[in-house]
């Protein structure tokens, strides 16, 4: 953003001698600024380096795992045959979780920021934040021991009455440890992250614009739609992506809750479920040896790529209307 008249412009208007006094000049930085911005840049570079290292590690470790020769994990399957159902499982479980959690999280965040009385809202925010603190192992225990048993009768009912609907078809699980339960657990796990970020962003919505909406005779919801949600769009998408990132990478809770089969299936209520990649790694790693370990790491690389694609799409959505963003 340094201002300068470039040499080019001088050539275009050679008739103005005073301009010769201001050649393209180096940006001047104060020492404090240089140190600070240098540190900031350095921090960013560290991230790049770590990522590069992780990527190199993943790629290097993955290559031996791609061949199915003597591979205790692949067992004569090609790597693609092996990983596609796993990738499907990851995306499917996370997607369901996000679809369940996103509206609820936005609802809670709005409730806290714009509906609940102030005092109450502060306590509520705190309580929801607490959920983020529950270790995934505990979510796993709770999901497997409490939630699965609780929802199983509903699944049986859905399966019996709405079994014609593809998602609810198949033989209903006797224990409730289905992909829907796993996704419910994931939804509860990502709820706090989404809620907290959405809440912060909603709270930052400018009072000025909220008042503008109200003064036009907007109801509370219309005010939120006009002044709060558009302002918070970027933040909401970011929150959803962070949440999705957590869901995609969640290991222990899914491992403990889900009855996995490594199939590609859209049925939500059966005990034959797809296996998400992290759960598969956790389940197979302790007994894996030789290039089986590399195969597992290669599936991690696939997950990496999947997550990146999801994020890239989200960024694209946010940037499309960047000039209408709320800042200023």
């Amino acid at each position: 953003m340094t201002t300068s008249s470039t040499a080019q412009q001088q050539q275009e208007e050679p008739a103005l001698p005073p301009k010769a006094t201001q050649q393209a000049r180096p940006a001047v930085r104060r020492l404090g600024d240089s140190i600070f911005s240098g540190t900031a840049l350095g921090a960013g570079i560290i991230i790049l380096l770590v990522l590069a290292a992780v990527a190199v590690f993943l790629v290097a470790q993955s290559i031996p795992g791609l061949s199915s020769e003597d591979n205790t994990i692949l067992r004569d399957r090609s790597f693609l045959e092996y990983v596609v159902p796993l990738a499907f499982g990851t995306v499917w479980a996370s997607l369901i979780a996000l679809v369940i959690a996103a509206p609820i999280a936005i609802g809670i965040a709005l409730f806290i920021s714009h509906y609940a009385p102030r005092r109450f809202a502060a306590v509520l925010g705190y309580v929801i934040d607490l959920l983020a603190a529950v270790p995934s192992v505990v979510f796993g225990l709770w999901g497997a021991l409490t939630l699965a048993g609780f929802v199983q009768p509903f699944y049986a009912w859905l399966n019996a009455n709405l079994g014609w609907f593809p998602l609810f078809s198949g033989q209903a699980s006797a224990t409730g440890n289905t992909i829907l339960t796993a996704s419910l657990v994931l939804a509860v796990m990502i709820l706090p992250i989404m809620t907290a970020i959405c809440r912060e962003v909603f709270l930052q919505a400018p009072r000025l614009h909220e008042e503008a909406a109200l003064a036009l005779g907007a109801t509370r919801w219309e005010m939120i739609r006009m002044a709060v949600l558009p302002f918070a769009r970027g933040g909401m998408v970011s929150a959803a992506m962070l949440a999705l990132g957590r869901a995609l990478g969640e290991t222990m809770a899914v491992t403990m809750v889900l009855s996995v089969s490594g199939v590609i299936s859209f049925e939500l209520l059966t005990s034959t479920n797809p296996t998400p990649i992290p759960a598969n790694i956790a389940l197979q790693f302790p007994e894996a040896h030789g290039n089986g370990v590399n195969t597992l790491i290669a599936t991690g690389l696939v997950l990496f790529v999947v997550t990146f694609l999801v994020n890239a799409i989200a960024r694209a959505i946010v940037n499309r209307r960047a000039q209408f963003s709320g800042a200023n």
Partner: protein
């Protein structure tokens, strides 16, 4: 309160090395008991056992990251031939079957505590050919039980597991007609309930109705258990019955002197022996670079194989103590560890 109190009075003749081990998670409870008692007798030494899983343990042993390991299977001949055990100075290793644990077939049906089943029926239940508990195949063997009209939900392990390998090799060996799959630590059938770990299977079986699964017997708890047909009789699981199985097993030929590996054949189980038992090994080197480590490994292995050690494991992990004959063999093997540099 138990921290920082060690190093009280030095025990006569105690070893002083620190040894680190990784491996089979099945041995966790037993190792806890062994380590606790061993450290009490040898307060200046330290033994750390990390239940990483057998596969990781074997990799660690090859890489030289663990002084000894626990493993649900011994190294196979190929692996032995390849050699290159990073923990050892030579390729001569010691493998001893000191953790023998019956695997119970557990189920959850209201009002039924125990069932008598033959191998074919068990295989049918798990393979999905028997789908209802009122199936005549079950009723025939259990005239006294009131069997409900209830779907069968078989539960297996979702993780790769030695317990699972033990169970599937039992099915493969005894019910080949129904169970047409190879023994494997991974479940060969797609579908069915899958749960992680022994505790996962136990919880899953307990959490459903009409469920059936298999688990380390010590974890069976209040669930119904199956008495398995061997010969003419139905044998309920017990440590003693499981020990009988190993007692009857043949030792694998062509291995080193300290390499005591047994070929357990469930199909050949003697009368009164319980045919499904996990045999898990302690694996170490016969020579170490560090004599202190060698002495400590030797002392630890000796304790594990001793009668007290086996009883401690039985108490804390529900395992089957080895018989005296086997112990003599094992003690001989342990003596092969070279303690003097």
């Amino acid at each position: 309160a138990n921290e920082g109190t060690s190093g009280g009075e030095a025990v006569e003749g105690g070893v002083t090395g620190t040894i680190e081990a990784t491996g089979a998670s099945s041995q966790t409870a037993a190792q806890e008991a062994w380590v606790a008692a061993f450290l009490e007798a040898n307060p200046d030494s330290d033994v750390i056992y990390e239940p990483t899983g057998s596969g990781v343990g074997r990799d660690n042993f090859l890489a030289g990251a663990s002084n000894f390991i626990g493993s649900d299977r011994a190294f196979n001949e190929e692996e032995l031939a390849a050699g290159g055990f990073g923990s050892c100075t030579t390729d001569d290793i010691i493998e001893i079957p000191v953790y023998i644990s019956p695997v119970a077939v557990i189920f959850n049906i209201d009002g039924v505590d125990t069932l008598n089943l033959d191998a074919a029926t068990i295989a049918g239940l798990f393979a999905g050919t028997i789908t209802n508990w009122n199936d005549p195949a079950i009723a025939e063997q259990n005239p006294d039980a009131t069997l409900p009209d209830l779907a069968v939900s078989p539960v297996h392990r979702s993780d790769a597991s030695g317990t699972q390998e033990t169970f599937t090799s039992y099915l493969e060996a005894t019910a080949a007609d129904v169970w047409t799959y190879e023994a494997s630590d991974e479940w060969p059938i797609q579908g069915g309930e899958a749960a992680q770990g022994t505790s996962g299977v136990v919880d899953r079986v307990g959490g459903g109705q009409g469920t059936i699964g298999f688990a380390d017997a010590s974890q069976a708890g209040d669930l119904g258990t199956v008495a398995v047909q061997v010969g003419e009789e139905y044998v309920p699981f017990s440590p003693e019955a499981a020990a009988e199985l190993v007692a009857g097993a043949t030792q694998e030929e062509g291995r080193g002197d300290a390499d005591l590996v047994f070929d357990v054949d469930p199909a050949a189980a003697a009368d009164g022996a319980y045919p499904i038992a996990l045999v898990s090994y302690l694996i170490g080197c016969t020579s170490y670079e560090d004599p202190e480590v060698a002495a400590t490994v030797q002392a630890y292995f000796s304790y594990v194989a001793s009668a007290e050690g086996q009883d401690a494991a039985a108490e804390n992990a529900g395992s089957a103590p080895i018989n005296d004959e086997l112990r003599t063999q094992i003690e001989a093997a342990i003596d092969l560890i070279q303690v003097e540099g």
